[in-house]
């Protein structure tokens, strides 16, 4: 009963998902490339990750050794005996865990090690955050989960200023004194990166819509397919029925039972699969005569929007939002620049205040209109 049609639809949905994922992956690669090139060379390096792991390892061993030293030394013991106990604990642990003499030395002089490690620590965190961003973006592209993108954005907006605070040369960023008009803002690598990030966020959101809509339908189709397969077991072919009825092995009464089961009124055990599926099968067969589209309606194929319809809807909803967002942002930049040209106020201050007031107005509108009311 239409199993082939369902399989075909499932394949179609899978194909659409693959296309969307592939296109998003392409955009993801651009985003990651831009982020990587935003940092100066050597800021992001796997070597820092190794150092970070080493630092964590030393910290754990150090903490364990301190705890052991506290337990094995009596509270009235002198500091010298405490130090001996601490070193003994470290050496024992180092022997068990096959540490090198350099490692043991680093853990014993953990304070010095920490101080020497501090300059690298910033890069270690940047590298870790970068890897996290990559993984979250990748996860979002392949699972369609928008929460990953939002987590990624939060990490990103924390990472950029953090890396700049501790190393002013880590990120390539335009000087505020150079920002006097829109082209200069947009021409900077940093601004382009932020616009690409915004597009990546918006595209992920919009492209997530298609799998989010199609996935439940696909899962529904798979469930219906399983049901149909189960139901097919209750389907008795005409030939089989005749054989059973004419079989001498069957008593007269059991023949009637079986015949009844096939024609939807079973006297076999009511909970048996044969009873349920044969009866259901007979019911579906009868209803199909009245409504040939019944199985389409039950499986959800009838409610499945066409792929072109989804794409048109997707583009229709995405494009106006992105264009309007860009237009509004440009307008908020243009106002202070206009003021600057007529020479009223200093550009940065007025830009900032006008943009901020616009944003605060929007924010207040949302708060009053929506959040407080709900």
């Amino acid at each position: 009963m239409m199993l082939g049609e369902i399989s075909k639809k499932i394949k179609e949905i899978k194909m659409v998902e693959t296309i969307i994922r592939f296109s998003m992956f392409f955009f993801y690669l651009i985003f990651i490339y831009m982020l990587f090139t935003l940092f100066k060379p050597d800021v992001i390096n796997i070597y820092y990750l190794y150092r970070l792991i080493l630092l964590i390892k030393y910290s754990i061993i150090f903490a364990i050794a301190v705890i052991i030293a506290i337990f094995i030394s009596p509270f009235y013991a002198s500091s010298a005996s405490m130090t001996i106990g601490f070193e003994a604990a470290i050496k024992t642990l180092a022997t068990i865990l096959l540490f090198s003499p350099q490692d043991v030395n680093n853990i014993i002089n953990f304070n010095n090690y920490l101080m020497s490690e501090f300059p690298y620590f910033i890069y270690e965190l940047i590298t870790t955050a970068f890897i996290l961003i990559c993984l979250l973006g990748f996860g979002s592209v392949f699972s369609g989960r928008y929460s990953y993108i939002l987590n990624m954005t939060i990490i990103l907006i924390l990472l950029l200023p953090f890396s700049y605070v501790f190393d002013a040369l880590a990120v390539e960023i335009p000087q505020i004194s150079q920002i006097s008009d829109i082209p200069r803002v947009i021409n900077s690598k940093f601004a382009i990166f932020l616009i690409i990030t915004f597009f990546f966020i918006e595209l992920s959101r919009a492209s997530g819509y298609v799998p989010n809509l199609l996935n439940p339908l696909k899962e529904r189709l798979i469930r219906i397919q399983q049901m149909l397969r189960m139901l097919a077991r209750g389907e008795v072919k005409e030939k089989a029925r005749v054989t059973l009825q004419t079989s001498e092995r069957l008593s007269r009464i059991s023949k009637v039972f079986l015949k009844d089961a096939y024609t939807s009124y079973a006297f076999i055990d009511r909970s048996s699969l044969m009873y349920i599926s044969s009866k259901l099968h007979a019911f579906i067969r009868d209803e199909l005569k009245k409504n040939p589209r019944l199985l389409d309606n039950v499986s959800g194929i009838a409610a499945l929007p066409s792929i072109s319809e989804i794409f048109v809807g997707f583009i229709k909803s995405l494009l106006p939002k992105v264009f309007l967002a860009i237009l509004l942002a440009l307008a908020s930049f243009s106002i202070p620049i206009f003021y600057q040209h007529i020479g009223i106020l200093e550009v940065i201050g007025i830009e900032f205040s006008v943009m901020l007031s616009l944003i605060l107005a929007m924010f207040l509108f949302i708060i009053v209109e929506y959040l407080l009311r709900s």
Binding site: Y146, I157, P161, F166, V298, A302, E369
Partner: protein, 468 residues
């Protein structure tokens, strides 16, 4: 309603804007610290030029916030008051327990905007099992478009039910906003009692050529087809009754006599008191009683007897006067399907109702648990007998209907048996009181309520109780 995604997005946008403000403040903070002799630039060199981040971050935050605002306006304009037309069709709306029902739901978007994501859930009472398909669907609805989905339900237990309401969840394409709307569309479904005992009876009848063959005849002389005997001709006898062969053989005029064929008038009286509601989920004493009543109604209909129905507790839930037609049978089945347990048991109420509305001789087969006060039961029987209402009682043995000894531990079973013995002792006392008036009482367990009903009916027919 703003979803968690929406909140997270909005917070990210706000965080960007607030951070751009914070960058300005950091520069000021550094200046203050410098004035008191602490130079933060030694370990955080970028702090003095953090304002460089302000404009890009403000731009990024503005883009996100604007995008959010556009989505908000779109959601408010099109999602808040969606114009959805939802219809539900049920085929059939009346069925027997264990049968299947096809439910079809049609959703039309009457609005002008496309609804990106609509989740429609049709709520189903737990007395139904979804056998095929699903009672929800997720789809997109362009303007003026109709989407239909169906599912098949299996009715588990008799009763009247309402399928619905329908819950529509409308989300925007991003999943930031969500509108949940409950549409109070209800469809009534009446599930008749389990028809299986009746089907079994029909099957047996088909195989054995009718096991109730001949039971519809009353053993008394009259005009029927079965031979009763011979007697001497009387002048008032019609000539056609003379048995000429026998007369020639014996040399005197003899006439043939036949068995009379009389039908009975039966009232099926079902106790619907609160006590009858006890038992297992979907299988209470009342459900068993209704199975028995359904079989009785069917037997009476096939035997061309008049049959009526009384559902009672301390009031009359439903009284259907004895008649004989197919539509009447359906009326009785419908009443049985809608029976609900409530109130206290009072046999007197039922008997008074029958005697008041139908003064001619009739038979009442009562299905009850005999758990009312024995005095009042005896009073009721006395009243019925005095008014020439024949009564047969089918009495449920409650402990066996409300617990399953097979699933009990040894200790529980011992305790149960002690209670059951005590219960039986009381039952014997009540039966003795009732039997004084010539009323038959059949004690029944869940498994033998149908045979007991059959036996009661056959006996009544043989004796001619309630014969018209």
């Amino acid at each position: 309603m703003l979803t968690n995604f929406g909140k997270a997005y909005l917070l990210t946008a706000i965080a960007c804007i607030l951070m751009s403000l914070a960058f300005y403040s950091m520069v000021e903070f550094n200046n203050i610290m410098k004035s008191i002799g602490v130079d933060l630039t030694t370990f955080a060199p970028g702090i003095s030029t953090m304002t460089n981040f302000s404009i890009p971050f403000l731009m990024f935050g503005t883009l996100m916030l604007t995008s959010f605002l556009i989505m908000y306006v779109h959601a408010k304009a099109f999602m808040e008051n969606p114009k959805l037309k939802i219809e539900r069709k049920i085929i059939p709306s009346r069925c027997f327990a264990g049968d299947y029902i096809l439910v079809s739901v049609r959703i039309t978007n009457l609005g002008r905007a496309r609804l990106d994501c609509v989740i429609i859930s049709d709520l189903v009472p737990d007395a139904f099992e979804i056998s095929f398909g699903e009672n929800f669907i997720m789809t997109s609805l362009p303007p003026k478009k109709t989407v239909e989905f169906s599912y098949i339900l299996r009715s588990l237990v008799r009763g009247e039910y309402k399928i619905g309401p329908i819950v529509a969840i409308i989300r925007d394409s991003a999943g930031f906003f969500l509108v949940r709307e409950q549409i109070d569309i209800f469809s009534e479904v009446v599930v008749y009692p389990l028809y299986e005992p009746v089907r079994r009876y029909l099957l047996l009848k088909k195989i054995q050529g009718g096991f109730l063959f001949g039971t519809h005849k009353i053993k008394q002389k009259g005009f029927g087809y079965d031979f009763w005997g011979l007697r001497e001709f009387l002048p008032s006898d019609p000539i056609k009754l003379i048995d000429w062969k026998a007369s020639a053989r014996l040399g005197k005029l003899l006439v043939k006599e036949f068995e009379a064929e009389k039908n009975i008038k039966l009232y099926i009286v079902v106790d619907c008191s609160r006590n009858m509601g006890g038992g297992f989920r979907f299988r209470t004493k009342l459900d068993y009683a209704i199975d028995g009543a359904l079989l009785l109604a069917h037997l009476a209909f096939r035997s061309r007897d008049l049959f009526g129905l009384v559902l009672f507790s301390d009031r009359i839930h439903r009284f259907i006067k004895a008649k004989r037609s197919r539509s009447h049978l359906l009326e009785v089945i419908d009443a049985l399907a809608r029976a609900r347990a409530s109130g206290l048991s009072s046999l007197m109420t039922a008997f008074q109702a029958i005697i008041k509305r139908d003064k001619r001789y009739s038979l009442a087969i009562v299905i009850t648990d005999l758990e009312a006060d024995p005095e009042t039961i005896e009073e009721a029987i006395k009243y019925a007998v005095a008014h020439k209402l024949h009564v047969i009682i089918i009495a449920c043995l409650t402990p066996l209907f409300v617990s399953d000894p097979a699933k009990m531990t040894d200790v529980e079973r011992a305790f149960f048996e002690a209670l059951y013995r005590d219960y039986l002792r009381k039952r014997v006392e009540i039966k003795q009181r009732i039997n004084k008036y010539g009323v038959m009482v059949f004690d029944v367990r869940p498994t033998d309520i149908i045979p007991a009903v059959l036996e009661a009916y056959i006996r009544a027919k043989h004796i001619g109780l309630g014969a018209m």
